[in-house]
């Protein structure tokens, strides 16, 4: 992947930040509106894919490379299991243990116990895994070209 013309680069530079911000918004409001960790992670991964397609793999891997995405993937899974184990250790099932402090009124952001935090963990995990897969696939395709 060598990247595309100046017009594509300029437009994608303008548009990548709103895409990532929208992905983060979707992740954070998963318990109040349609969305959550899965769609938000997919949108963030799509933003990274846009960067790779427009700027090329070399320019993108200076910012975020294969190892970083793999670490993000593992860290998201670890965070999910850690929060859940903490809940079970305190004697609750998956969600409600943070609810001791933050059950709140429904439809406020600090309301649904552990669910927002699980959404953040799942969002990190899905975005990392999909970005790692995309970068890996592009590397596989490019290496065949060099051969």
């Amino acid at each position: 992947m060598k990247g595309m013309s100046l017009i594509v680069r300029t437009i994608s530079r303008l548009i990548v930040a709103p895409i990532l911000l929208f992905g983060i918004y979707i992740v954070l409001h998963g318990h109040l509106t349609p969305g959550g960790g899965f769609p938000g992670g997919v949108i963030i991964a799509a933003g990274i894919a846009l960067l790779i397609l427009s700027y090329g793999l070399k320019a993108t891997t200076k910012k975020i490379n294969y190892d970083t995405t793999k670490v993000l993937d593992s860290f998201g899974a670890f965070l999910f299991v850690a929060i859940a184990s903490g809940a079970i250790a305190l004697g609750y099932f998956f969600a409600p243990y943070l609810g001791l402090i933050a059950m709140g009124t429904p439809a406020q952001w600090f309301s649904a116990g552990g669910i927002p935090y699980y959404n953040i963990a799942i969002g990190i995990k899905v975005a990392g895994a999909l970005a790692a897969m995309f970068i890996g696939l592009v590397i596989v395709i490019m290496m065949g070209e060099e051969e």
């Binding site: 969305g35 997919v42 799509a46 793999k70 409600p96 429904p106 649904a112």
Partner: protein, 180 residues
């Protein structure tokens, strides 16, 4: 009711697009036709009142299309024609007929469209907010009541990322071996 009619038109469109995608010779056209089917499915999900699923389907469809096109760009667009008749194809068609017959007999036992028959839903409606605090019931189910499902999903995603890494690694070590 009009919503259901619109959705039926989209479903017919999807089946036609799927047949075109499978039968056309050019591989790039087949991939584009598959994308048409996927985005129609997104609209069908939205019309069937499943906004969460529609968002995921739209994002996933974009990434699948990009990856397939990227794979075709560096390989080949030329499809391989299927031979007209052989034992394998005949066996495949027999298997398809068997599947369709089984489905047709099972169809009469399904609950009619528009009347779901899962009883545990009533509990989730009545006590969902009380138990979890989340007003989006889909989020409440995937992250609380069925949290182990999500954990298993995370493991499957991790495994397939590992699989891509394994494909990559075999390539790298082989290449390094050549250079040494």
């Amino acid at each position: 009711m009009e919503i259901i009619l619109v959705q039926w038109i989209l479903l017919v469109f999807m089946v036609v697009g799927a047949i075109i995608a499978v039968e056309i010779k050019d591989l790039l056209s087949a991939v584009i036709a598959a994308g048409v089917v996927g985005f129609s499915l997104t609209v069908v999900f939205l019309l069937l009142q499943a906004p969460d699923v529609a968002i995921v389907q739209a994002g996933v469809e974009v990434i699948t299309l990009i990856m397939l096109v990227a794979a075709l760009a560096k390989t080949t667009r030329e499809g391989i024609p299927t031979p007209w008749m052989s034992t394998g194809i005949l066996l495949g068609l027999v298997f398809l007929l068997l599947f369709l017959g089984t489905f047709a007999t099972g169809l009469t036992d399904l609950p009619p469209f528009g009347n779901p028959a899962i009883n545990v839903t009533n509990y989730y409606f009545q006590h969902g907010v009380q138990d979890t605090g989340a007003i989006n019931l889909v989020a409440a189910i995937i992250l609380d009541y069925r949290g182990y499902d999500t954990l298993g999903e995370a493991i499957v995603l991790f495994t397939s990322a590992l699989g891509v890494a394994a494909v990559l690694r075999g390539f790298k070590s082989k290449k390094g071996g050549k250079e040494e």
